[in-house]
């Protein structure tokens, strides 16, 4: 008996599982750095988030949706890991579990599971926690304390909140910058912040890995980074006493984690390079607007969720450049 099927008769061997585990590998450098800086707390919240995301996905598919299980594709683990990366490492376990339930239950499964959710599930989880438990979600542990410090870790301000606070007190940027860790510490992540967002170098390693494996393309991270650089650069040139420089904006807060791992989430980002540019520019602009002119010190999470909402429109109005679209060119 010969099998009959239409062409092509060959497959690349690429699979959702391989892509998702590729993302997890790309997240490993940031994970290792978080454990070095924040000790057992980072380990606890990451493992808790990954496990509870997987368990909630299983339970919801098995008992509520009663459909085929898709747990093996690894996407719940990616969501869990990303969620943990944007939480403070001293967050109690029950809040991490609650965040996972919101991320998977509301962010993902309520829309029909992988492929159907309009918003990045990990960010949905984080934002709900952020709005509901503002104090716990903004008291970040200082790096390099005793390894076994978890919820009892000493907390401090993040570079972005130091700047926001300083501006509020009408200090000048050069004065504020003297209180902020230097660029090398920012680059290496030796600062306060969410567990996985701090080390620029680890996140960039992850980016290089994902580009080499062709898991993502450069369009989204690059457009976000360029937009933030240009926008904050203009402000900085106009008034360096009032506005921080672009390098500070790039290296602080969740910008790189967001640009590299959150905004590039397949399901919630545009489907072609032209759309990706628009989306990335939008995220960059909203991030800077919130950071510089808004009430919160950090705006990446809201910027990405806002642009997630625009993705269907972007897909509709920004189409890929077709072959032979232009009449005739020599």
């Amino acid at each position: 008996m010969l099998t009959i099927s239409p062409s092509p008769h060959m497959h690349s061997g690429e699979s959702v599982k391989k892509l998702m585990f590729g993302v997890i590998i790309a997240l490993m450098p940031a994970f290792i750095v978080s454990v070095i800086y924040y000790g057992i707390g980072a380990l606890i919240i990451t493992v808790t988030a990954m496990l509870s995301c997987a368990i909630f996905e299983y339970l919801i598919q098995r008992f509520i949706l009663k459909k085929q299980l898709s747990l093996t594709d690894g996407s719940a683990l990616v969501t869990g890991m990303l969620l943990a990366f944007c939480l403070p490492a001293n967050l109690p376990v029950w809040l991490v579990v609650l965040g996972s339930l919101i991320a998977i239950g509301i962010g993902k499964m309520s829309f029909g599971g992988l492929g159907n959710n309009p918003f990045n599930p990990a960010l949905v989880g984080r934002v709900v926690l952020f709005v509901s438990f503002p104090v716990k979600m903004t008291s970040y542990p200082d790096p390099l304390q005793k390894w076994f410090n978890y919820t009892d870790a000493v907390t401090g301000a993040t570079p972005l909140s130091i700047v926001k606070e300083g501006i509020r007190n009408q200090d000048s940027i050069p004065d504020i910058m003297a209180r902020v860790p230097d660029y090398l510490d920012l680059f290496l992540g030796k600062i306060g912040g969410s567990s996985g967002e701090v080390a620029a170098i680890a996140l960039l390693l992850g980016l290089i890995y994902m580009l080499a494996r062709k898991i993502i393309t450069i369009h989204i991270p690059l457009s976000i980074i360029l937009t933030v650089t240009v926008f904050t650069g203009i402000l900085w040139i106009l008034d360096p006493v009032k506005y921080a420089d672009p390098l500070f904006h790039l290296l602080s807060g969740g910008l790189l984690l967001g640009a590299i791992f959150m905004a590039t989430d397949y399901v919630t980002s545009p489907m072609n390079p032209n759309g990706m540019w628009i989306y990335g520019i939008g995220i960059g602009i909203i991030t800077v607007l919130i950071r510089v002119f808004g009430a919160y010190p950090e705006g990446v999470q809201f910027a990405i969720l806002t642009m997630n909402a625009f993705v269907p429109l972007i897909n509709k109005y920004f189409k890929p450049t077709r072959f032979g679209e232009k009449p005739i060119n020599e």
């Binding site: 099998t3 239409p6 062409s7 092509p8 497959h11 492929g115 072959f323």
Partner: protein, 444 residues
């Protein structure tokens, strides 16, 4: 400097198992089935009757209408049946079955292997020879060559491009032909240049055939205006529009033909057939077919008489392996799966691929994860995921606005999809539904 096109494309495992093996002449089989439709266009009119004795090279089907092609007997023997047979496309089509006897060729065919470089005939005679020989595009599209050479009014062509890219994995029929019949191909190109009245010809060859590039380059100097262009290995570079883009950096407009940007594209196999038709008076009655597959005992490149059954080819390559799941006429990306081995080789058959059972099964379909890989590999810049959704939900009018007509069915989207979605299947369905809609509109 190796060139390529830059929009989309994939690089499947090359699997060119037969690149090192030369051309083997397959013995004339006991029975051949020669379809009268081996080309795009009108079927040829059968000019023999049951019981007739025919010689090798004798015309048995007369091309009818403007777009059609002559069909010749590839063997000597007796016409045993003229009826409908299933061909490799799966359709029931009229064919002439001939039981073979001792090989006896029509007198004026020159069987001597000696190379004839000098072209003596005037231009109209050349075109007539090509038409009489029944040549159709041998890369697989099988568009009648003499029709393609007849340029529409107002179109001027400055470049003849010869397709030696052979971007389909596994296939090596063009590769070995370039190595063994390089000068014949160059002479064929010179003939085609004279017919078309162009002074530049470029042979595009992917760099996994580096020896063919070297061999043709070493001989091209003897021929005026022919150059060789090495290309990076990328699928679907053998597609006309992609090849024009790779070599000339010109982009054929949507819905247009290469002649819209001053180029015309032919396959190297077609050039060899032109050489044989003009210099040797030989009609197109045989071709090179790569018989390949990892499970096959001796994958080979055979010179095969048109009409030979696939079963004979497989027997010559060591027999059908136990664990065979799929037999494909053509390459793995665009070839057609056969449901029977008793279908004949035709003018467009470039290969026969045997896939093992485990390679033949498709993996379970998952939700689209919107990774946009299908969009990024589409060489035409389309949105396969969207076309699939629209086809599935019968949004036929929207599907036309999404330029489904530009799709050449290269299969890069289905090949890359990590969720194993049958994108191309649904795009074909969408095309069919669009045709149906247009027909209904016309009727109303």
């Amino acid at each position: 400097m190796y060139k390529t096109f830059h929009k989309g494309g994939v690089h499947p495992a090359e699997n060119k198992l037969t690149a090192e093996s030369g051309i083997i002449d397959l013995p004339v089989p006991a029975l051949v089935t020669i379809p009268v439709t081996q080309h795009i266009g009108a079927p040829a009119r059968v000019v023999v009757k049951k019981g007739d004795n025919v010689k090798t090279g004798q015309i048995i089907g007369q091309g009818e209408g403007f777009v059609s092609s002559n069909i010749h007997s590839s063997v000597t023997g007796t016409v045993s049946k003229i009826e409908k047979f299933i061909d490799s496309s799966g359709y029931n089509r009229l064919a002439v079955e001939i039981e073979t006897s001792d090989d006896e060729w029509v007198e004026n065919i020159d069987l001597c292997k000696e190379l004839i470089r000098e072209i003596t005939l005037p231009r109209p005679e050349l075109l007539k020879k090509i038409q009489e020989a029944g040549i159709a595009g041998m890369g697989g599209a099988t568009f009648p060559t003499h029709v393609k050479m007849f340029l529409p009014q107002g179109k001027t062509v400055d470049h003849l491009l010869v397709n030696g890219a052979e971007c389909e994995p596994y296939l090596t029929s063009d590769h070995v032909l370039m190595l063994e019949k390089g000068e014949e191909i160059l002479t064929g190109i010179t003939i085609a240049m004279q017919v078309l009245g162009v002074t530049n010809a470029v042979i595009g060859i992917e760099k996994n055939k580096i020896n063919a590039i070297g061999y043709l380059e070493s001989h091209a100097a003897k021929y005026n205006g022919i150059s060789i262009q090495g290309l990076k290995v990328k699928y679907p570079q053998g597609s006309e529009k992609q090849l024009v883009k790779s070599i000339l950096k010109r982009e054929v407009p949507s819905g247009g033909l290469p002649s819209d940007v001053g180029a015309v594209v032919f396959n190297v196999g077609t050039m060899f057939a032109i050489y044989e038709a003009v210099q040797k008076n030989k009609p197109l009655i045989d071709r090179i077919v790569t018989v390949t597959g990892r499970s096959l005992r001796s994958p080979s490149n055979f010179r095969v008489r048109i009409g030979t059954h696939m079963a004979d080819l497989i027997k010559a390559a060591g027999g059908l392996p136990e664990n065979t799941g799929k037999v494909i006429g053509g390459g793995p990306m665009m070839g057609k799966a056969l449901n029977s081995l008793d279908v004949p080789v035709t003018k467009g058959t470039s290969g026969l691929l045997i896939l093992e059972e485990k390679e033949s099964r498709r993996k379970p379909i998952m939700n689209c994860i919107r990774c946009s890989k299908c969009v990024s590999v589409c060489p035409m810049g389309l949105e396969p995921y969207l076309l699939m959704i629209l086809a599935e939900r019968r949004f036929c009018e929207l599907i036309e606005d999404c330029h489904i007509g530009d799709c050449m069915e290269c299969g890069s989207c289905s090949y890359i999809c990590p969720a194993n979605r049958p994108l191309l299947d649904y795009i074909r369905l969408g095309k069919a539904r669009l045709r149906e809609l247009k027909r209904k509109k016309k009727e109303n």
